[in-house]
C-alpha cells in the first residue's frame, strides 16, 4: 500500500492552504485528493471580488484567490489528484479513494487533514409547503449554472435567505438580466455580511424583507409564484400578512452545513452546533493525527480566515508527523486540557479545548453569536475570573468573531480548568 505523511481531503481553499503549510513545515509526502475537475473548490464559481483583503491586502475574485494558492502548490510540487472521490477513511488512517484512471485505491496516511468544505441546506430541510416544480435552486447551484456554465436559471427571481451566497446571487442575477423581486429573511437580521447587503441589494434597489418567509410554492411544472408572509418572534407566519409574488425562480440561501460524512464514518466526535468535528488547539479531532479546517470544521464568512486556519492545521499536522517519526515519547502525565465553554450569546467555540503546552504563542479562538448585540462586551472568564473584556459596537450571527488567547497569560493560571466565553451587555 502506498504511504503518505499527510493526506488532505479536499483541494479547495482550506485543503490548498493546509497543503502549502504542511510542505513549508518540512513534510515531503503530502497528497491532496480533490473530487472536482480542478483545484480551488467553491472559489471557482465565486467570480465576484472581495477575497484576499486580509491575506494578500488586495481585492481578488474567487478564482484569482484560488489561483494564488494553486500557484504556490505548483511551486512546491505538491502532489494532487482531481476527479477523485474519497470513499472511506479508516480509524487507522487508511484512505480509500476512487477515480476513473486508478479505480479503487487504498493509501496509508500518517496524518489526515479534513478539508471537505460544506454544502447548502436544501428546500426540503426547511419543510416549505407547496408544489415541487422546477425553478427552485439553492443559491450555489444557480451560481454554478450562471458563473461556470453561462446558463440563466430564470428571469423573475425571489430569494429566500440572506446568507452571503443569496446576496451575491441577487446582484449576479440582476447583472445577467433577471429581475430579482425581493430577498426574504426569516430572522429579524441578515445572515450575511453588511457589506454584501449594501453592495448587492441596496445598490440595485432590491428590497430585503426581514422576518419574512415563503409559506407556499405554486406551479406544477415550472415555478409560477410564491407567497411570502411576515413571521412573529417565534418564526410563525402572521395571518393577514401574506403577499403573492409571481416568479419563475426561487433561490434558497438558508444556511451551510459542513460535509462530514467521512468524519462521521470514522467515528470522530462531532459538535452539534457547528456540525463539524470538535477540535483542540491544534485543530486536531478526537482521533489523534486527524485534523480539520475550513468550512468542514465550521462555516466561515471569509476565505481569508479559512486560509489562516488551514495553514495552522497544516503546520500542526506537520508537527504531528515529525513527532511520530522521531518517536519522541510524550510524557503520559500531560494534564487534562483547558475546556472552552460557549455560553450566554456565544454559540460555540473553535477550538473546544486548549492544551497550553501545544498551543502557539497566540491562539485565535473563533466563534459565532446567536443574536445581534449592540454596545456589548465579549468576555472570557478564566474559571471565575474575567480576564478578557473586549468592547464591541455590534456583533451579529452573520459575522464570525474571535478572541486571542496568549500563551504567556495562560501560563499564569497553572490550575485553570475552564475558559468561559460570553457576551455581556453594557
Amino acid at each position: 500500500m502506498k504511504a503518505y505523511d499527510i493526506v488532505i481531503i479536499g483541494g479547495g481553499p482550506a485543503g490548498l492552504a493546509a497543503a502549502v503549510s504542511a510542505r513549508k513545515n518540512g513534510i515531503d509526502r503530502v497528497l491532496i485528493l480533490e473530487r472536482d475537475k480542478e483545484l480551488g473548490g467553491i472559489l471557482n464559481q465565486c467570480i465576484h471580488n472581495g477575497f484576499g483583503l486580509h491575506t494578500f491586502k488586495e481585492e481578488l475574485t474567487g478564482p484569482e484567490y484560488a489561483a494564488r494558492y494553486i500557484a504556490q502548490a505548483a511551486e512546491l510540487n505538491l502532489e494532487y489528484k482531481i476527479n477523485t472521490m474519497v470513499m472511506d477513511i479508516s480509524h487507522e488512517k487508511i484512505v480509500t479513494y476512487m477515480n476513473r484512471e486508478e479505480g479503487m485505491q487504498e493509501i496509508q496516511a500518517k496524518a489526515v487533514i479534513l478539508a471537505m468544505g460544506c454544502r447548502e441546506r436544501s428546500r426540503g430541510a426547511l419543510n416549505i409547503p407547496g408544489y415541487r416544480p422546477a425553478g427552485i435552486f439553492s443559491a450555489g447551484t444557480a451560481q454554478r449554472l450562471v458563473n461556470m456554465e453561462g446558463y440563466l436559471p430564470g428571469r423573475e427571481v425571489v430569494i429566500l435567505g440572506s446568507g452571503d451566497i443569496g446576496l451575491i446571487m441577487a446582484r449576479r442575477m440582476t447583472l445577467e438580466g433577471a429581475k430579482v423581486k425581493v430577498v426574504s429573511e426569516l430572522m429579524p437580521y441578515s445572515g450575511g455580511l453588511k457589506r454584501n447587503i449594501v453592495q448587492c441589494l441596496d445598490d440595485y434597489g432590491i428590497p430585503l424583507k426581514l422576518s419574512h418567509t415563503v409559506i407556499d410554492i405554486r406551479g406544477k411544472e415550472r415555478l409560477e409564484g410564491i407567497t411570502l408572509a411576515e413571521v412573529d418572534s417565534h418564526g410563525k407566519p402572521i395571518p393577514g400578512t401574506e403577499e403573492d409574488y409571481t416568479c419563475d425562480t426561487l433561490l434558497l440561501s438558508v444556511g451551510l452545513i459542513p460535509e462530514n460524512e467521512l468524519s462521521n464514518g470514522m467515528g470522530i466526535d462531532m459538535n452539534r452546533v457547528t456540525s463539524g468535528p470538535n477540535v483542540n488547539e491544534s485543530l486536531e479531532t478526537s482521533i489523534p493525527g486527524v485534523f480539520a479546517c475550513g468550512n468542514v470544521l465550521h462555516v466561515h464568512d471569509l476565505v481569508d480566515f479559512v486560509s489562516e486556519e488551514a495553514a495552522a492545521a497544516g503546520k500542526n499536522a506537520a508537527e504531528y508527523v515529525m513527532r511520530e517519526k522521531s518517536a519522541v515519547q510524550i510524557s503520559k502525565d500531560i494534564k487534562s486540557p483547558i475546556e472552552l465553554e460557549a455560553v450566554e450569546g456565544v454559540r460555540y467555540t473553535v477550538p473546544k479545548t486548549v492544551n497550553v503546552d501545544r498551543m502557539t504563542d497566540r491562539l485565535t479562538v473563533r466563534f459565532r453569536v446567536g443574536a445581534v448585540y449592540q454596545n456589548c462586551f465579549v468576555s472570557a472568564y478564566f474559571d471565575n475570573e474575567r480576564v478578557i473584556h473586549k468592547k464591541r459596537p455590534v456583533v451579529a450571527p452573520g459575522e464570525m468573531e474571535d478572541i486571542k488567547l496568549d500563551k504567556s497569560k495562560l501560563l499564569e493560571y497553572p490550575d485553570l480548568k475552564k475558559i468561559t466565553i460570553k457576551i455581556e451587555e453594557a
Binding site: R35, N83, M85, M87, T96, M98, N99, R100, E101, E102, G103, M104, Q105, E106, R119, E120, S122, R123, G124, A125, N127, P129, G130, Y131, R132, P133, A134, G135, F137, S138, G140, T141, R144, L145, V146, E149, G150, Y151, L152, P153, G154, R155, E176, G177, A178, I215, D216, I217, R218, K220, E221, R222, P237, D248, E259, N264
Partner: protein, 479 residues
C-alpha cells in the same frame, strides 16, 4: 390495431403489461407523463402490507395477501429493492385492545401468516424506540418495504423487453366504440385496440365514465410525507403503524425505506384536483405531531424533503378489477389505493387472466422473466469495484455525492429500455439527487450527461417532462 391498450404506466399498468407479455399479444401502454411511475405510484409509503387491514372476503384482501406472497420471488426475478422486515401496529390505550384483536382476527381470515400480538416489553425488544405508552402491538413478520419506483420501473422495463410498446407524453382525451373494440383519441394521434385496461389511477373514473353508464367517482386523497436523512434510517427497523383510525385509514406511519432513509406520513386529505400534489403547512405539522405518538424521539430536524402523493380512493374502498358489463373489452383497474402497491403483482396477474380468457391468448415462448436492475457498486467489494472501473471508467466518476452515484449508473439509467429522460427519471432509477443535498451538487452535472447522451440542448432538459425546464436561457440574453 392493438389487442390491448393499457392507460397508465403506474404500478398497476406496468404489472398488467408485464403479465400480459407472458402471452402472444400486441400490447401498448399509453402514459400522459414523460416516464413510468409519475402518479400515485411514485409518492406513497413503499410498504408491502401484510394484509390484515382489508375487509375479509374483499378483492382488496385477497390481492393484498397474494401480492405480498409474490413480492419476494418477483424482487429476485426483476432485481428491485424489497425487504421483508415485518410491521407493528401500535396500540397505545388499554381500551383499544379490542381493535387490535379485531385486526388480528381479520388477518387470520385474510390468510396473513405468522402474526402475533406482542405485549409492551416484547414490543420494546423488537423496537426500542416505540412510545413509552405502548400497551401492545400486532406484529406481522410478512410485511415488508419495497422501492416503489424500483418495482414499477422493473415491471415496465421487463414488459418492454418482452415486446410491450410504451408511448409517453400521450394523453387520452376521448374513447370511441369501434367494431370490434375502441378508438382512443390522444394528443399524439389515434390508437385502435380490441381491449382497454383502465389503470389511470386518480383519472380512472374519467375513462370509465367515457364508456359506461354506471358512473364511478375517484377521489384524490392526498397524503403528505416527510423523508428523513439516512442518519435517522435506523430509528426503527420495521414499519410502525398506528392503530387504524375509523375515519382515515391507517394513520401516520414511521418506516425505514429500502434505501436506508426514514419515512414518516401520510396525512389523508380528500381533494378535488387530481394533480394537487402540494404539501401544506397543516399537513406537515400533523405529521410531526402524529408520528411522535407511536415512535419516540423522532429526529424531525433531519427531514431532507417532504412530498405529497394522491391515493385513488373509490367510495366503496374496494379494488375494481373487472370487465365492464356495458362496455365489453374495457377492463377497469380502478380504486387502486393502499394496498395497491403490495397488490400490484396480483393485480397484473388478475388482469392478464381476464384478457387471456377473453382473447384466448397463447403463451409467449420467448418470454424472458428476469431483468437486471441498475448495478449498485456500493454492494461490491473494493476489488470488484476496482475491476468494474478498469472495465468501465464511468463507474469511477461520482456524480451524486450524497448517494455516491457514479456516471456509470446514470448512463445505464439513460440507455436501458424505457430509459430516463429527465432529472427525476434519473433520480428514480439511480437515486442521484435523492440524498441530503437534494440535487444541489449533482443536478448541473446530471443535466450535462442527459444533454450529451440524449443529444438535446441544455434548454430542453427538464426536471420531470412538460414545461419543467431547469434553465431558461443564456446569461444576458435579455439585455
Amino acid at each position: 390495431m392493438y389487442d390491448v391498450i393499457i392507460i397508465g404506466a403506474g404500478v398497476s399498468g406496468a404489472a398488467a403489461a408485464r403479465e400480459l407479455s407472458r402471452y402472444k399479444v400486441k400490447v401498448c401502454v399509453l402514459e400522459k407523463s414523460e416516464d413510468v411511475c409519475c402518479g400515485t405510484s411514485k409518492a406513497n409509503s413503499g410498504i408491502v402490507h401484510a394484509g390484515y387491514d382489508a375487509a375479509p372476503g374483499s378483492l382488496m384482501a385477497q390481492l393484498n395477501v397474494e401480492g405480498n406472497a409474490m413480492m419476494g420471488k418477483l424482487a429476485e426475478e426483476l432485481d428491485f429493492p424489497f425487504q421483508r422486515k415485518g410491521s407493528l401496529v401500535v396500540c397505545l390505550h388499554e381500551e383499544d385492545r379490542p381493535s387490535l384483536q379485531e385486526l388480528y382476527d381479520k388477518g387470520i381470515k385474510n390468510g396473513v401468516p405468522d402474526m402475533q400480538i406482542l405485549e409492551r416489553e416484547e414490543v420494546w425488544e423488537l423496537e426500542p424506540n416505540i412510545s413509552d405508552h405502548v400497551v401492545a402491538a400486532l406484529y406481522a413478520p410478512s410485511a415488508g418495504i419495497v422501492c416503489p419506483f424500483g418495482l414499477n420501473i422493473a415491471m415496465a422495463e421487463n414488459a418492454n423487453t418482452n415486446g410491450v410498446a410504451f408511448r409517453f407524453n400521450t394523453e387520452v382525451t376521448a374513447i370511441e366504440h369501434i367494431e370490434p373494440g375502441y378508438r382512443l383519441i390522444t394528443n399524439q394521434g389515434n390508437y385502435e385496440t380490441k381491449c382497454i385496461v383502465n389503470a389511470a389511477g386518480v383519472y380512472a373514473d374519467v375513462f370509465h365514465n367515457m364508456v359506461s353508464e354506471k358512473k364511478i367517482h375517484i377521489t384524490p386523497r392526498r397524503g403528505d410525507y416527510c423523508l428523513l436523512d439516512k442518519t435517522a434510517g435506523k430509528h426503527v427497523s420495521r414499519t410502525v403503524f398506528a392503530l387504524p383510525n375509523r375515519k382515515y385509514g391507517k394513520g401516520v406511519l414511521v418506516t425505514p425505506t429500502t434505501h436506508g432513509n426514514l419515512l414518516v406520513g401520510p396525512t389523508a386529505i380528500d381533494i378535488d384536483d387530481p394533480e394537487g400534489t402540494n404539501t401544506t403547512a397543516e399537513g406537515l405539522k400533523r405529521i410531526a405531531e402524529n408520528a411522535g405518538l407511536n415512535v419516540k424521539n423522532l429526529p424531525m430536524r433531519q427531514v431532507i424533503t417532504s412530498f405529497a402523493g394522491l391515493r385513488a380512493h373509490e367510495e366503496n374502498h374496494e379494488f375494481i378489477i373487472e370487465e365492464l358489463e356495458d362496455a365489453p373489452g374495457f377492463i377497469d383497474c380502478a380504486g387502486i389505493e393502499s394496498p395497491g402497491l403490495t397488490s400490484s403483482p396480483a393485480i397484473g396477474k388478475r388482469i392478464a387472466k381476464i384478457l387471456q380468457e377473453k382473447l384466448h391468448l397463447e403463451k409467449n415462448p420467448d418470454f424472458q422473466g428476469t431483468r437486471r436492475g441498475i448495478l449498485n457498486p456500493a454492494a461490491l467489494s473494493i476489488k470488484e469495484r476496482d475491476a468494474l472501473i478498469k472495465k468501465e471508467p464511468a463507474y469511477g466518476n461520482i456524480i451524486c455525492r450524497c448517494e455516491m452515484i457514479s456516471e456509470g449508473e446514470i448512463l445505464d439509467a439513460i440507455h436501458r429500455p424505457l430509459g430516463a429522460k429527465s432529472l427525476d427519471g434519473v433520480k428514480r432509477r439511480t437515486r442521484a439527487g435523492m440524498g441530503r443535498c437534494q440535487s444541489g451538487f449533482c443536478s448541473p452535472r446530471t443535466m450535462e450527461i442527459l444533454s450529451r447522451e440524449l443529444d438535446v440542448s441544455m434548454f430542453e432538459i427538464t426536471k420531470s417532462g412538460g414545461d419543467s425546464r431547469i434553465v431558461v436561457g443564456k446569461n444576458k440574453d435579455a439585455l
